[in-house]
């Protein structure tokens, strides 16, 4: 037992905490840090870099498709590029970038000093980085995955796909799965245990609801991909027959397993982003979110319903009408929570006073893109029409409107919003407007015509097309629009650079936002909060200004200091009553070394050098034991 008495911030407390929480400089600090803010930034930078790589791949594809019968790329090159583009964007960008935001923001927003498992957090970053590099190392041997991001068997099986292409795919994704799963567990436990006292579940920011829903979805969806990739690898390497009809397997097994994972996954990569929007729009509309409870419920129900629609990717596979009709209905039901969210944002805007700063411009643009992408999803959910739309550029248009509209736009908005918190410096507002308009107009110019290309009968995944089918013009426009869009991305990078070099100081709360992350300095100190805050409403920083949220009950300037080593407060899962003091781990090299060992294992599996795989596995076990072995000061119960 320990007594925690409320304290107030003071220079000596600051110094003590700084000593306790600071990561030492040098190589050990770089590889061993477990600070969620450092890890979050690494996630953001790494995932964004993968986005640029995927974007570059797309830029090459667009050059090839600009006109009929272009000869810039060979079919082999094109097929690797579009596959790696999809794999990169879906797996190495869209989800990890949101993990980056969650990692950085969660403890700050929740009023804690770190995540529940800081070392697992470091581990999940290293695993992400290494699995990304593992997949990209396929380019070095000229054998990048080339069967599309959903890799339908039997085209991926040994006889139809010689070489290492699809081994990189199967093993790379298995590797990444570990990272994502570890990350999801960490978020859930953090939410259950590491909140500010008083932050009961009806006071959680929607962003938290988004990542929470996503994390649960990961736990249930990811294993389906794991199973599929294991089977694929076994088929290819050990001559097994999961997808081989000649020996009792079936290609549709792959499709079911993949989409049972795949459809939940597309909501996994947007729910936190929609959460970012739900928290940001109120800040810029100077009022609380309309229909908080509706939006929270919509988030959770989308996550759940997302498990019941996977067959809408398989409408042309010859399933019975009864089954396709069922999944068509389910796909329409799932639009209701999205519609609820859209109209909650609209109501917030209409009943508020929008401040037209860059983050809000991206938010407004996002709503429009979301609806365009959403209704094209509804069109593909109508089975008979989908028999025409499927596998055409109409689907490519749909997926970019939703992925770019509800993932990339909120991500850029998130950067404009939170980068000042991370770096302490504002971005340029003027450049920001240019950035928004080039991206918004470029995107629509580039991707809207894809709907038309699809309606004109252009299939997807073709490296070239003949003249005379009327596809030339739309494709040229798409290419031009994509490049305008790329310039927009470039402007964003320029703005970030400008901000780092000479951006004006941000101060703790440049947007006068209501959530806890704005209560600490920008950038926050290693320990986040000098005294741990307690929360009395949904908008701790707006208290006293909203009539019906009553008297201010949040306490931000007085609270436990917890300065006996790295400590933070544990609470009860639902009501967030303080329940224990949590001892947090020190920096450690184990996460890095464990991830490295796993990399050795995966290269062993890739090359069939079994000794290497086994050596890696033994190292993994050794690292795990070393990691978990209690230190000199075992925590006292």
């Amino acid at each position: 037992m320990a007594t925690i008495a409320p304290a107030v911030p003071s220079p000596s407390l600051h110094e003590r905490l700084q000593r306790i929480w600071e990561t030492p400089p040098g190589l050990f600090g770089i590889l061993g840090t477990v600070d969620h803010k450092t890890i979050g930034k690494r996630y953001l930078v790494t995932a964004f870099t993968f986005m640029l790589a995927g974007g570059l791949e797309a830029a090459l594809m667009r050059a090839q498709l600009a006109g009929p019968n272009e000869r810039l790329l060979t079919p082999e090159a094109y097929n690797q590029l579009f596959s790696m583009h999809g794999i990169t964007m879906i797996f190495l960008y869209a989800s990890p970038i949101l993990s980056g935001f969650s990692n950085y923001i969660w403890p700050l927003m929740l009023g804690s000093r770190d995540m529940a498992f800081p070392r697992l957090n470091a581990l999940s970053y290293w695993l992400f980085l290494f699995s990304g590099l593992f997949i990209y190392s396929s380019f070095l041997v000229g054998q990048a995955p080339d069967r599309g991001w959903f890799a339908y068997a039997p085209l991926t099986e040994g006889p139809f796909s010689p070489g290492l292409h699809m081994d990189f795919y199967a093993l790379g994704l298995l590797f990444l799965t570990v990272s994502t799963t570890v990350g999801a567990i960490n978020f859930i436990v953090t939410l259950f245990k590491l909140r500010a006292p008083g932050m009961s579940i009806n006071r959680l920011p929607i962003f938290i609801w988004g990542t929470l829903t996503t994390s649960f979805a990961v736990l249930f969806a990811m294993p389906s991909l794991t199973a599929a990739c294991v089977m694929l690898y076994f088929d290819r390497r050990f001559g097994m027959h999961f997808f081989d009809v000649a020996a009792g397997g079936h290609p549709l097994l792959w499709q079911h397993l993949f989409w049972i994972f795949g459809h939940p996954w597309v909501y996994i990569v947007v729910l936190p982003a929609m959460g970012i929007m739900s928290d940001m729009i109120p800040t810029f509309c100077r009022r609380p979110l309309a229909g908080y409870t509706f939006v929270a419920l919509a988030t959770v129900s989308t996550g759940i319903l997302g498990f019941g629609v996977w067959v809408h990717h398989m409408f042309a596979t010859g399933l019975p009408d009864l089954s396709t009709d069922f999944f068509s209905a389910a796909s329409m039901v799932i639009t209701i929570p999205s519609a609820v969210a859209v109209f909650a944002w609209l109501a917030t805007i209409w009943h508020g006073r929008p401040v037209l700063r860059t983050p809000f411009l991206f938010a407004a643009g996002f709503i429009v893109l979301f609806v365009i992408g959403g209704v094209s999803g509804v069109a593909t959910a109508a089975v008979p029409f989908d028999r025409q739309l499927t596998d055409t550029y109409f689907v490519v248009a749909h997926l970019h409107y939703v992925l770019v509209g509800i993932n990339l736009f909120p991500v850029i908005a998130g950067f404009y919003y939170w980068l000042p918190k991370m770096t302490g410096r504002m971005l340029s507002e003027r450049l920001g407007r240019w950035n928004f308009w080039t991206m918004f107009l470029g995107f629509n110019l580039g991707f809207f015509p894809m709907h038309i290309a699809g309606l004109l009968g252009m299939p997807r995944r073709i490296y070239t097309y003949p003249a005379g089918l009327g596809w030339g013009t739309v494709n040229l426009v798409t290419t031009i629009g994509s490049y305008v869009f790329a310039v927009g991305v470039l402007l964003f990078l320029v703005n970030v650079l400008w901000s780092l070099l000479r951006g004006p100081a941000a101060g703790p709360n440049p947007w006068d936002a209501p959530t806890l992350e704005w209560a600490t300095s920008s950038p926050p100190p290693p320990y986040n909060f000098e005294v741990l805050p307690s929360v009395g409403s949904r908008h701790p920083l707006w208290e006293g200004r909203l009539p019906d949220e009553g008297t201010a009950r949040s306490v931000l300037d007085r609270g436990p200091e917890l300065d006996d080593g790295r400590e933070t407060l544990g609470v009860t899962p639902l009501d967030a009553e303080p329940s224990e003091i949590l001892t947090m781990p020190e920096d450690s090299l184990y996460p890095f070394l464990l991830a490295l060992s796993l990399l050795v294992t995966f290269y062993g599996l890739l090359t069939s050098v079994w000794a290497m795989a086994v050596a890696g596995a033994v190292l993994v076990i050794a690292m795990t034991i070393g990691w978990l072995w209690p230190g000199d000061v075992p925590e006292e119960a």
Binding site: V189, F238, L532, E580, E636
Partner: protein
């Protein structure tokens, strides 16, 4: 509420409800889903099969049935060990862990013997692939569980645990019971269901 007034709180937590315990619980949830998908694959390919399923008839129970009992016994031993440490009884903890370890190893050994009697291999047909992959995955989980139990047993001998501090034991025992329950699902699906379906 709040921590703006003085409070007395424990530092860390012993078992259920600790962060580590939640972590283990969620790991079990996702692992259970993995086995659910593997068994889904088994039934899916079974439903699509054109010939008999399983092609060589239901697998024999001669070894598998006793083996199931052995695994169940190991779970009981684990429970005995864990409830021991909760009362601070070090001897029961050590003995229970040892017993679990031995029973687990026997289970794996019998599994290997059963494998060696099989007329088919993972590369024979899809059924073979499924049989060996599913039981193999389970076997791998047993092996990982045994490793964890071994580490915990060493720590038990070093006197790391007490009635107040035994999170590692609790976690390992949850994991072990989970592996057991998975076996029951695997056993029912692979060994029993072909006899009834």
């Amino acid at each position: 509420m709040a921590t703006a007034v003085a409070h007395r709180l424990p530092v860390g937590r012993a078992g259920k409800g600790a962060t580590g315990w939640w972590g283990m619980l969620l790991l079990i949830v996702t692992e259970a889903s993995l086995f659910a998908y593997l068994l889904f694959s088994y039934f899916y390919l079974g439903s699509m099969a054109r010939g008999a399923w399983p092609p060589s008839g239901p697998p024999e129970l001669r070894l598998a049935l006793p083996n199931t009992v052995i695994l169940l016994l190991s779970s009981a031993a684990m429970w005995w060990a864990e409830s021991g440490v909760r009362q601070g009884r070090q001897g029961r903890l050590r003995l229970g862990l040892l017993l679990t370890l031995v029973l687990g190893i026997v289970f794996l050994a019998i599994q290997v013997v059963e494998y060696s009697h099989k007329q088919f291999t993972p590369a024979t047909d899809a059924y073979g692939s499924l049989f060996f992959t599913i039981t193999g995955f389970h076997g791998a989980h047993v092996a990982v569980g045994l490793l964890m139990i071994a580490v915990v047993a060493v720590r038990a001998w070093l006197g790391h645990f007490s009635e107040r501090r035994h999170l590692a034991v609790t976690n390992v025992s949850w994991y072990w019971h989970f592996v057991d329950v998975v076996w029951l699902a695997v056993f029912t699906s692979l060994y029993l269901s072909p006899r009834f379906l």
